[in-house]
């Protein structure tokens, strides 16, 4: 028995229960997952198609009050950072017509993907809406942020990525 315990003591078999908790913040440094989806204007688009640009990916839905408040701020940010940061909205689970009408009524001009199956929401482990993910030029997640952001917070989130050349 002592021989068995001695040999067993040398084991380094992993404890599978030790699985880390999720959430968008845990994805920093990971390759950003991408899915081809239709935009509200009918074109097919994806995160991967913007490789080479810094991307601010925003997961949202029309029924979500903080998302609605954040939408004009995002539009303001998209205009201010045009050519430097691509803002990509991803509506979670709603029909294209619903997302398009809602965005159009609020003067949103940045591209909006329609994610009926919530693929981006699952991949980026959204704990709620809105969820914002900053992706660098190489297609890696820099930050995943849960909750609505102010303009100052958006600027601060992309500043380190833009500083890298």
């Amino acid at each position: 028995m002592s021989l068995a315990l001695l040999a067993g003591g040398c084991y380094s078999a992993p404890d599978p229960a030790a699985v880390a908790a999720g959430g968008p913040a845990t994805l920093a440094g990971a390759p950003a997952q991408s899915f081809d989806l239709q935009r509200t204007d009918g074109e097919v688009d994806s995160l991967a198609r913007h490789r080479g640009s810094v991307v601010l990916l925003n997961l949202w839905a029309t029924w979500c009050p903080p998302c609605r408040e954040e939408l004009p701020v995002l539009e303001q940010f998209a205009r201010a950072y045009a050519g430097r940061v691509v803002v990509l909205g991803v509506d979670q689970g709603e029909s294209a017509s619903v997302a398009r009408d809602f965005a159009r009524a609020r003067g949103v001009t940045y591209p909006m993907l329609v994610d009926l199956n919530e693929q981006y929401g699952r991949a980026y482990q959204g704990l709620g809406l809105p969820t914002t993910v900053i992706v660098d030029r190489d297609g890696h997640v820099v930050r995943g942020i849960d909750g609505a952001l102010t303009l100052a917070q958006m600027r601060a989130a992309v500043a380190p990525v833009l500083a890298k050349r």
Binding site: A4, G8, P14, P16, V19, G22, F35, E94, N117, E118
Partner: protein, 317 residues
């Protein structure tokens, strides 16, 4: 063959079989229980006694064969006693679950409604600097001191529309994957004679919460009230509004549209795998033990043949 040798041989075979069982039939809770440890320890005690006895008698080859069984048995005992219990890593389709203990990340394939119905999704394990390891439902994958497999668990892909036909966001407020139309039924609930998988989802666009109970065709056939279609699984859905006010109950057979609480719901039912990780004895210990046993037996047979006196040739007449 003397009784002592027969007992030693039987114990050696038992030690090999018990250790090998962890690799051939992995994941059983029995391997981590005292009964398994006691059986293996008893077999190993007999094997150890046989080694001592053979060494004293100068039967070094036989002792070597028994040492092979001892090595395999000790590895099996170590894995059973000290290895972690079998665990299942449940991940939402299209997500990545880090498994720090394995130094790996498990990629759960993105599954749509047809994939859930087919139940053929696989899981890919990625580790830095190593080739990706795909675990499919066709077999287990040995990875050092762990064996990986898939456990098909009940799953449902939910689509929902409002009364104008607009698609609704599905959320899971009580689960780790808040944004996902795939229910993985991590809980169970007793209802009458049934103990069935249970989950909750919401359609915040219409301020509805749904409780879902998963019934297999066999369960449906045992219902007291006859169910028209028992050929496919079904959910029993109950709806409530934001304040918890009940809004009705409905049976939703897989793939069939039902209306409940002002929402049209279609649940496509099937399975989605969880990654099971079981500790096993390292393969080298079993292979090494077997090699020693074969070498010892071969050596023993050869030396026995040399010791056997040749028959005396009769003189020619």
């Amino acid at each position: 063959m003397s009784g002592r040798v027969a007992a030693g041989a039987a114990a050696a075979c038992a030690a090999f079989a018990l250790a090998l069982a962890q690799d051939v039939l992995p994941g059983a809770a029995f391997y981590h229980g005292w009964q398994y440890a006691l059986l293996l320890a008893a077999a190993l005690a007999v094997v150890a006694a046989s080694i001592v006895s053979d060494l004293r008698a100068g039967n070094r080859w036989a002792a070597l064969a028994f040492a092979g069984a001892l090595l395999a048995g000790v590895a099996g005992l170590g894995s059973g006693l000290l290895g972690p219990d079998t665990a299942a890593v449940i991940g939402t389709p299209g997500t990545v679950a880090p498994i720090p203990a394995l130094g790996a990340a498990a990629f759960f394939g993105a599954a749509d409604a047809p994939a859930i119905a087919r139940g053929d999704a696989s899981i890919v394990l990625r580790r830095p600097g190593k080739p990706a390891l795909e675990v499919t439902r066709s077999g287990h994958v040995l990875d050092g001191e762990s064996i990986l497999g898939l456990d098909a668990r009940p799953a449902a892909f939910i689509d929902a529309w409002d009364d104008h036909g607009a698609h609704l966001t599905i959320t899971q407020p009580s689960n780790a994957s808040f944004l996902s139309p795939v229910l993985l039924f991590r809980q169970r609930q007793k209802i009458g004679q049934f103990d069935v998988p249970f989950d909750i989802f919401g359609t915040p666009g219409r301020a509805r919460i749904f409780h879902a109970l998963f019934f297999t065709p066999r369960d449906l056939a045992n219902f007291r009230h006859a169910v028209a279609d028992t050929s496919r699984p079904a959910l029993i859905l109950t709806a409530s509004d934001d304040s918890g006010k009940p809004l009705g109950i409905a049976l939703a057979p897989s793939g069939q549209l039902v209306e409940l609480g002002g929402v049209r719901v279609r649940a496509t039912l099937g399975t989605f795998p969880a990654l099971t990780i079981a500790s096993v004895p390292p393969l080298w210990t079993l292979a090494g033990g077997l090699a020693l046993a074969v070498l010892g037996l071969a050596g023993h047979a050869l030396s026995a043949r040399r010791r056997t006196p040749r028959a005396i040739q009769p003189a020619g007449i």
